[in-house]
Point group: C2
Chain length 526, copies 2
C-alpha cells in the first residue's frame, strides 16, 4: 500500500474505531496531519447512531455517500481519440456510521464508471444495491456491524447475502460484477450501474453461499474467468473451491482443495496450465470473532504456504511449500517457464493491514506492513523445500497491476501507485504512478506531488490488438487541498514520466476506490 493509501486506511480505521486502540499510539488527527490532509474535527450524528466522519475531512477513503452523475465532464488537456471504453471501480463507503472497532473494509460498495467515448466522458457512481445495502437502508441502521462476524448481525440480517461488493469489479456477459471475496458477485448494468442481481450465481451454477474472490483472472487464451471461493466448506473452513466460467457464462470446470489453514486468500495466480495460491498468516480467528471482533488476526506463529496445482484437474496434485510468516496480498502477474512457476506480488514482512489485530495483542507493526514488489518462484515438480523470493522493486506499491490481457501469461509491464522512492525517509513523498518493466528491472515514475492522493491505476489498451503496454494509464487523483475534489488523470502508458495528457475535472470528491477495471469498447454489447 502506498504511504498515502496506507495513511488513508489507517486514518479511516482510526476514525471509525475511535479509541479502540487498534492503532495504538496513533490518533486520527495525528495521522491526518502527517498526510497533509485536514484534521478530522468534523463529526456528525444521526438519531440512533454514533459519530460519523464527514466527507472531505480525510483521505481518499473519506465517506462520500453521494451517488453522482456528470454528463460530458470538463476536461483539461487533450483526451486521446483512441481511448474508448469504461473505467469501472468500487470501494467502501460507510452507508451508516461504523461501529467502534470495525474497519473501513466493511463500508458498503460504491461503484463508479468513467465512460469514455468519442472524446466525451460521462461520470457515474451508484451504491451497489446489495441485499445488505437495501436492508440497511430500510432499517436506517447497519445490520452487519462487524467485519465478517455473523455473531454480531442484527436479526434482520438473517438469510441475506453479506456482500458489501466493495473490493473489485469485472465485466462478464454485458454486466459488471461487483465483488467481495466472502460472497457471490452483485451484478450491475454495464451502462447505468443499476443493480440487476444482488446475488449473482451464474444462473445457479454456483451455490448462493459460495464465496467468489475479488481477484478473478481472465484467461489470456480463452477469455474464461478463473476464480475461487474460500471457506468453501462453511464459515472458517480450510477449503477452497476453484472454478472457471466461459465467456458465455457456462461453468466449464470446478474443483475443491484443502488448504493448510484458513488464512487470507485475497488474490491468487493463474498461469497457462497452473493455479497458485499463497496462504498467509492473517488467519481466521474464531475466539476474536466470538469476542465481537473482525474475521482475521495476524498469527505470526503460522507459516506462509505457497501451493499450486494443474488447471482443469481435480486438485489432488496440489503441492505445498512453506516459508516464514509473511504476506502477499495483490498479484501483479504470473507465468510459468522452464518447469518453474513465477508469481509476482507485493509482499510485507508482517501484517499487511496494521488496523487488523495481531493475535498476540502486540501493537501495529508499521514497518512490517510496508509492501514492496517481489517474485515468488518454485519448481513445478515440488521437489524443493520452500519457495524462492526475490525483490523486483523496492517501490512501496501495495496495489500493483498489469495489462489485464496478460493475466495468465508472461508479461513485461506492471503499473502501480507508490510514494516517490527518491524522497528521503521522514519527508513528505509525492504520490506517484509507476510503470515497471519487469523484464529488464527498470521503472519510470510520474510524481503528482504531495497534495494529491492517487488511487490504483488501470491500464487501457488502445485496442484489443495493441501490443503490450500500448495504451493509457488512468487513475483518480484526490486533491487533498481541495476538499478531495478529484481528477481522473490520463497518462500515455508508454510515457508515464511525462505525466497526464488529460485530466477529467470532477466538481466533487470521487467515490472511494479499492480496485478498478477497464472495459474495452469492443467488450460492450452492440
Amino acid at each position: 500500500m502506498a504511504d498515502q493509501d496506507r495513511r488513508d486506511f489507517i486514518r479511516s480505521a482510526v476514525g471509525a474505531a475511535a479509541t479502540v486502540g487498534v492503532a495504538a499510539g496513533l490518533t486520527g488527527n495525528a495521522v491526518a496531519a502527517a498526510a497533509g490532509a485536514p484534521a478530522i474535527t468534523d463529526t456528525v450524528t444521526r438519531p440512533g447512531h454514533g459519530p460519523a466522519r464527514s466527507a472531505g475531512t480525510g483521505g481518499q477513503f473519506s465517506p462520500i455517500r453521494a451517488e453522482v452523475t456528470i454528463l460530458d465532464c470538463n476536461i483539461e488537456g487533450k483526451l486521446p481519440v483512441d481511448l474508448n471504453g469504461g473505467f469501472y471501480a468500487t470501494g467502501p463507503d460507510p452507508q451508516y456510521p461504523m461501529r467502534q472497532g470495525n474497519i473501513i473494509f466493511d463500508g458498503e460498495g460504491h461503484a463508479r464508471l468513467f465512460r469514455i467515448r468519442n472524446g466525451r466522458v460521462d461520470y457515474r457512481t451508484r451504491w451497489v444495491k446489495s441485499e445488505r445495502f437495501v436492508a440497511n437502508d430500510k432499517a436506517r441502521a447497519q445490520l452487519f456491524p462487524m467485519y465478517r462476524n455473523p455473531y454480531m448481525d442484527d436479526p434482520r440480517a438473517k438469510g441475506l447475502s453479506r456482500s458489501t461488493a466493495n473490493t473489485h469489479v469485472i465485466n462478464h456477459k454485458g454486466l459488471i460484477l461487483a465483488l467481495k471475496e466472502d460472497s457471490p458477485p452483485v451484478a450491475m448494468d454495464l451502462n447505468t450501474l443499476e443493480t440487476v442481481d444482488p446475488v449473482y450465481t451464474f444462473d445457479g451454477q454456483l451455490p448462493r453461499d459460495r464465496a467468489f474472490t475479488a481477484h478473478p483472472k481472465v484467461c489470456s487464451k480463452t477469455g474464461n474467468i478463473v476464480a475461487f471461493g474460500y471457506e468453501a466448506d462453511g464459515f472458517g473452513s480450510a477449503s477452497v473451491a476453484f472454478f472457471e466460467i466461459d465467456k458465455a457464462g457456462k461453468k466449464v470446470w470446478e474443483t475443491k482443495i484443502p488448504v493448510p489453514y484458513c488464512g487470507l486468500l485475497h488474490d491468487f495466480a493463474v498461469t497457462e496450465n497452473h493455479i497458485a495460491l499463497f496462504v498467509v498468516p492473517l488467519a481466521f480467528d474464531p475466539e476474536q470473532i466470538k469476542r465481537g471482533g473482525i474475521h482475521w488476526s495476524w498469527d505470526k506463529t503460522l507459516k506462509s504456504h505457497l501451493g499450486w496445482f494443474r488447471r482443469y484437474g481435480d486438485g489432488k496434485d496440489v503441492k505445498w511449500v512453506q516459508g516464514p510468516a509473511q504476506s502477499g496480498t495483490h498479484t501483479m502477474g504470473a507465468f510459468e517457464d522452464a518447469g518453474r512457476i513465477h508469481f509476482d506480488t507485493e509482499m510485507t514482512a508482517g501484517n499487511p493491514f496494521p488496523f487488523m489485530p495481531n493475535k498476540d495483542g502486540s501493537p501495529p507493526d508499521l514497518p512490517g506492513s510496508v509492501s514492496t514488489i517481489y517474485r515468488i518462484s518454485a519448481n513445478l515438480s515440488g521437489k524443493t523445500k520452500g519457495y524462492e523470493v526475490k525483490q523486483l522493486y523496492a517501490l512501496q506499491a501495495p496495489l500493483p497491476k498489469q495489462d489485464d490481457r496478460y493475466n495468465t501469461m508472461p508479461y513485461r509491464y506492471g503499473y502501480a501507485a507508490c510514494p516517490d522512492p527518491t524522497v528521503a525517509p521522514g519527508e513528505v513523498a509525492g504520490s506517484c504512478y509507476a510503470r515497471m518493466d519487469v523484464q529488464n528491472g527498470t521503472y519510470e515514475l510520474w510524481n503528482a506531488g504531495p497534495k494529491v492522493s492517487l488511487a490504483e491505476p488501470v491500464f487501457a489498451p488502445k485496442s484489443v490488438n495493441s501490443r503490450e503496454g500500448e495504451g493509457y494509464l488512468l487513475g483518480v487523483a484526490y486533491n487533498l487541498d481541495q476538499n478531495l475534489r478529484s481528477d481522473l488523470v490520463i497518462l500515455d502508458a508508454e510515457r508515464v514520466k511525462d505525466g497526464p495528457i488529460a485530466r477529467v475535472k470532477l466538481p466533487v470528491q470521487a467515490s472511494p476506490q479499492v480496485h478498478g477495471w477497464w472495459v474495452r469498447e469492443d467488450q460492450y454489447p452492440a
Copy 2:
C-alpha cells in the same frame, strides 16, 4: 439581492463574460476576493468550447454539473419531528461553457430536493431535462448561446422550447413545475425529479408558446395557481396574459391586458380581489438583441408603472400610475385594505442586475442595484397621480419570502437572506437570515458568519393548520472555505436569532439555487 448573492451573480457574470466589460472596472478575481471566496483561477476546456469555470472556485452560483443522490443524509443537531415535506429549488448551472457576454441567468436549470420525513433527509438533484437541455446534450454544445436572443440560436434549436427552467419551482397535481418566465413550465416527478413533460401546457389549456411567470401565487382561499405570461402577443410584445388554474388543473380564468411597454415583469402581486404588476425599465431591447446581446437593457428614460385590475374580470378596468425609473423584482407579500392595495417588494434605485447592460452604455451602477424592502401602496380607485413608496426595512434583501399560505392575504412575517446591517460599510458582513415582522416593523437576524454564502430561505409550517410563522426556516449555506461544501440549515422560524437547530451536512456543493419552494407532507399524493 444580498451582498453575497450579488457578488456571486456578478462574479458569475464576469466569469462568463470574461473581458466583455459588462461589469467594467470589476474583474472576477477582484470581486471574488472581496467576497472572501477563492479567486477564479481554474479554467477548463472541452473540445470545441471556450474556457469554463470549474466547480468550487467561486460563490454559490459556481457550476456543479453533477446530479447527486444522497440517502439518509448526515445530520448535526436535532431534526424536528414535526418537519415533514420537501424543500425544492432550481437554479442555473451552465451545462456547457457560456458564451462571452452571456449571463448566469442563462444556465440550464438544475433542480434539487431535500425530502424530509420521520427524521430522515434524502437529498437529490437532477438537471431539468428541458427540450433545450436534451438537444444541447445531444449536440455537445450550447444551441441557445445568448440569453433570450433567438437570433443567436443554432439551427438545431429551431422549434424547441427555450425554457431553462432555472428560476423557481412550484407543486401542482403531484408534480413539480420548474419555471422560467419566458416559457411554459417543465414538469418533473415530485419524488424522483425526473422530467415527465418538458413543455407543460396544463393539458393543452395554455399555448405551447405562452410564457409562464416564475412567480405564480397560490390563492390563500382557493389554492388556485394565479399566474401570468408576458410578451403574450409575440416576442417583445407589450401584452400580458393572466390565468388561474384550480387544484384539479382546470383553467378557471384567463384574460390579457396591454402594458405600457415590454419591461421586466419578473414577479407580481395578487390580493383577494386584485392583481397588481410593476413594469420596470429593464426593457426589451430589440437593437441590442440584433447586435447579439441579451434580451434586456436598463433604460433610465422610462418610467416605472404600477397597474392593477380585478381578478376574474376582463382586465379592461386596469389602472396605471407612474413613478421614476426604479425597480422592484421580488414580491414579499401583498394585500388590500380599506380601499388600498399594498405591494411589499424589494426595490432598487436603478438597474437591479448590474451585469445586464445599461441602454445608454454607462457602466454598472452598483449603489443603484442595492435592494431594500419597500411597500408600494395605491388607492384602488386610481384617483391618485402616482403610487406611494415607503421603506419597510433597510435590509439588503433581494429575495424576500413569506409563508406561502399567505400569498394573497394580509401577512405578518417576511424572511430573507441579507448581509448583517450592523457591520460598518467596507467591512465584511456575515451572511444572515432575517425574519421581519412587517406589522410592527421589527426584525431579528441570525448571522452565519463571513465564510458562508446563504441562499434564499423557505418557510415550512409545522402543519397546514399552524398559525402564521409557526414552523421552520430552511436554507442552504455554501461554505466558502470548504470548496463550497454545503449544509442545509434549519432554524426555528420563531427563534431565528438562535441560529440552526439542525444542519444537514452534504458531502458536496449544493446545486445552485435561485428560488425554493416548500411542499407540505399533506400535499404529497398518498
